[in-house]
Symmetry: C3
Subunit: 419 residues, 3 copies
């Protein structure tokens, strides 16, 4: 530190780690001014986009004897700050192991549990975003892992509302959810330090939702919606709107990962049964499968404690490599190609949220452990969506739905660092 | 720190401490749909509430030779960030001792000067919140303490507007206030390290307010309002509205603390005389008294430099205790019970802000020095309030006030950590 | 650090420095209720102002091997946070030296490149603020310096939109700009450690702007506007409005600095040619010159790497000085006086943004390297401005412009610390 002053934490009983990330995106949309896509996009041709996807800053640490805390802010919204992980918790507990109370990710499948720092594609698949919009909810969740690291699990109770922009849920109907995920790393090749492994998991949720939006009950959390796996404006291209008469929903997800050195294959499928009062029940579902491959031979590391992918370590960094003799020479980083097929069906009974299908081709250029570029080309179509669903009035379901279909191509690029 | 990088401050001439807190609340309201309470609550039944009360993050430190600084942010509002303590200052000054310039707490009595980290009850009493809404103002304030620590004082000049959401006061009428507090720790038992002590203080303010809300003069700071000692929406259940013709107000507060080991008794009373042009002067007042007791024998520490309560140190932490032999065993933390009676009378002449009366029963479970849970049950009534005051139009006082009265019960719980 | 916990960065591969600043301002306006000034000010008499101009907090550091990052937030807006410098970058590059990608200052002349921590006057001149509003844009910029430190340069490509409150630019027309600055420290007196030096630089930009504000093309970045070199509300007293038919603009700036010990003379002149479709091209221009002098004999340091002014080091700090014998005695800090003449002409063809002329007298009291007070008296006039321009409708240019002229006096004071 020399002549610099060392920063200390506010209390001698607590430790602190400061971290953050910057994600800078460019997006281009090619929709041939398809009127259906324009309608899905809030009535206008989707505009190209240049800007910050994430500007994160956070602090976390331990409090004596066995407590932990975290505050993480998202500043990419400019005037509109939002919080992300904000919790207090306990570690080293008998039976429960680790328990966190606060805003944290719900255990709905793999792809949202993977950090955006490590995700293979720039944006997450339809079904992952639609069934678990923005992922984090206020809840109490336990995290555990077996001694041999083969099994890990998380389960808890959550409030259904995303409170990242308000800070509070208000409503006499609590809209609670019970959710959990049980994961198994069935194969992990210790001798290669994890270049080979296989994983599967099952996740589920029983979510009570407010049946109506009247007065103090709180707005119903019965809407499922998502962007086209690229970053558009706030209008979602797949959107069920608030589902009239929704009473509760049950979610079930299956996921699997197989990793063979530089090659990884990942797939998930999720089903969502919405039980309704006075309306026909609906079943929404979707899934995806992708393969990724390191041209430069690295592999996607696996975190057996959480059952999620981990930070990529390039064999050589971009631009500068320390050689044995102490000199420096140029390196090329790690190069990874990937392809994903994703599908979602949000149409059933009187609900016309749309059927989406999308192929994404990706190229990731990892400069070092903390910086990379990502390039995505997405070709998709959305079928039979009633764009009037998006107005979020629970009662305004058309007798004769006005469904539309459209195609699109999207080009995306991202620069990212984390620290 | 090992393989972690040590964080340094931006300048070799400055030091830095990083601190924060997370307060997570649940609130339940039981009002039997009393129409009066609904009117006080903006027209609708108060909704239950779950969310973050405080997500604080701040930095503070010294600048050579004798200056200090602090920036503290509040992120619990989600999209709406707010600042709290933001100041620069001088220490070790002749005569003035310490002087701070910036956003800081006004010296209006004890309970708002106590940190929310240490307050015995979840929310502060009627009169404390109403006469000193959000406590902090832009000002220049000196802080002093006598050599024997028996006396401490703070006094300064403030602008009356709460600028935590705008950042600036704009108005040709400056609405300045002179305010101060003189405190005396008349007894402090050094031999028990402060398990016994007694304190009294007097505080006062002379506050000039803008007489009208016309053009560039700035909105009058002549409104006194507060929630029902529980966290409701932004509507205040006691609310004078902008007091027509208010020219200036004088505030006088008395406070006293007696601590005998595990038992503490605290009381405050404040009077507010509003001088008006063309209207009858009004006198608003209120007070509270509470007793708290540690079932596990700890005591509420006292900070003689500031004349405020300090951080509780449990005899044993919750869950984990280091035993003499180096082993670990479960501990139960510190348990504290408390009861508060609070009263406020904001009715006088043509002003019908309401008369409030409230009893709060509290239980605090201190897990360690930096974490605790709080539980409050509140039973209160509000009498003779004219809910039309809340519209904040200075001229629209009804000829015949439409006063209402109502009862309520409130249940609150808080988890908190600070670091 | 003793019994305090040392704060560490989030990754062992990255370093972190935490810094910030607090600027607290008071502003008084004396306009004799001039109806022209009121019109320029959005229709009402400019109100006096007290509050925070800047509450900055940021982190920056290095990522192995040769990358850097920075996130800097501005919290003075209260509810409305904004980001400032947010970038990732590479250092030690062959040929390009340093390259930053993200939100960073455009290289339009000297005064905006100077940090607000070091600026001699409280607010920047007309032309600097008008042609480079808020200075920072999303871009890719290279920074270089010659081995002998005599030459430094920066050049890059930027998007024209200020995204500090939205986080993103959306629009199919990218509104790109190519901009650069070439600077030469033609004299630097090494023997006196830089008490004598001279500098000149030339800067320029070619900026494509959206020709229309229709649908997804994005709002045209063809508006040039500024406050009266004092901090008013969001209404700008000089304002061209969106210039109808603007296709692109070319900016050229000249700047020069001469420093002779305690005396410094600085001047800049900038010209802006707006090329238009279907309208007459317009030429906007302005400049300023100022002299500053340290009564106490210090000098304005010069940063030869960036071609900007640097941090002032008082001979003795205010209040406390360490004397040779180890004792302490009062010091008076550094005292600096300054005068500036500034002028701008934003009238040409059918554009009546106004002609401004302003004299500022300044006094800076530097308490130490990290804290100072600034006092400014500004006397100015604005001539022949059509206040209807401010409504920012590109087509609503009056056939017969309704121009007005007015005078004003402004008093400003600032307290600042940085850390």
């Amino acid at each position: 530190a020399g002549n610099k002053s060392i920063v200390v934490s506010g209390s001698s009983k607590s430790t602190m780690k400061v971290s953050g990330r910057v994600h800078l995106d460019g997006w281009g949309f090619d929709t041939d001014e398809d009127p259906a896509i324009n309608d899905f996009n809030g009535g206008s041709d989707p505009a190209n986009r240049l800007g910050f996807r994430r500007i994160r800053f956070g602090v976390s640490g331990k409090i004596k004897d066995n407590m932990i805390y975290k505050i993480e802010m998202e500043f990419a919204g400019g005037n509109d700050s939002e919080f992300r992980d904000v919790f207090l918790g306990w570690i080293d507990l008998p039976f429960f192991q680790e328990v966190l109370l606060g805003n944290q990710k719900r255990p709905y499948g793999l792809d949202h549990l993977n950090s955006s720092r490590y995700n293979v594609f720039i944006e997450r698949p339809f079904v992952i975003e639609a069934f678990n919009e923005d992922a984090r909810r206020l809840g109490l969740q336990a995290y555990g892992v077996s001694d041999d690291m083969a099994w890990n699990w998380r389960y808890g109770v959550f409030n259904g509302r995303n409170i990242q922009d308000d800070g509070n849920y208000t409503g006499d109907h609590l809209q609670l959810q019970l959710a959990g995920r049980m994961a198994n790393t069935i194969w992990y090749d210790e001798t290669s330090n994890g270049r080979g492994y296989a994983h599967w998991a099952i996740s589920g949720s029983h979510a009570d939702v407010s049946t109506a939006d009247d007065g103090s009950d709180g707005q119903s959390e019965s809407r499922f919606r998502t962007r086209p796996e690229g970053r558009t404006s706030s209008d979602r291209w797949l959107d069920t709107g608030l589902i009239p008469g929704a009473d509760y929903y049950n979610l079930l997800g299956f996921e699997s990962v197989i990793n063979l050195g530089a090659l990884q294959i990942v797939g998930e499928y999720q089903s969502n049964w919405v039980e309704r009062d006075g309306f026909e029940n609906v079943h929404l579902n979707g899934g995806y499968i992708y393969a990724s491959y390191f041209l430069t031979g690295e592999h996607m590391p696996w975190d057996r404690e959480s059952g999620t992918i981990d930070r990529v370590i390039p064999f050589e960094n971009f631009w500068l490599v320390d050689t044995a003799g102490g000199g420096r020479s140029a390196g090329w980083g790690a190069w990874q190609v990937a392809a994903r097929y994703s599908q979602a069906d949000f149409n059933d009974a009187d609900i016309f949220g749309g059927r989406g299908e999308s192929i994404t081709i990706g190229l990731n250029w990892h400069w070092n452990t903390n910086a990379r570029m990502q390039f995505n080309y997405i070709s998709g179509k959305i079928k039979d969506r009633d764009a009037d669903n998006g107005d979020n009035t629970q009662t305004a379901i058309n007798a004769t739905p006005d469904v539309q279909s459209g195609d699109y191509d999207i080009y995306g690029a991202r620069f990212m660092v984390d620290f």
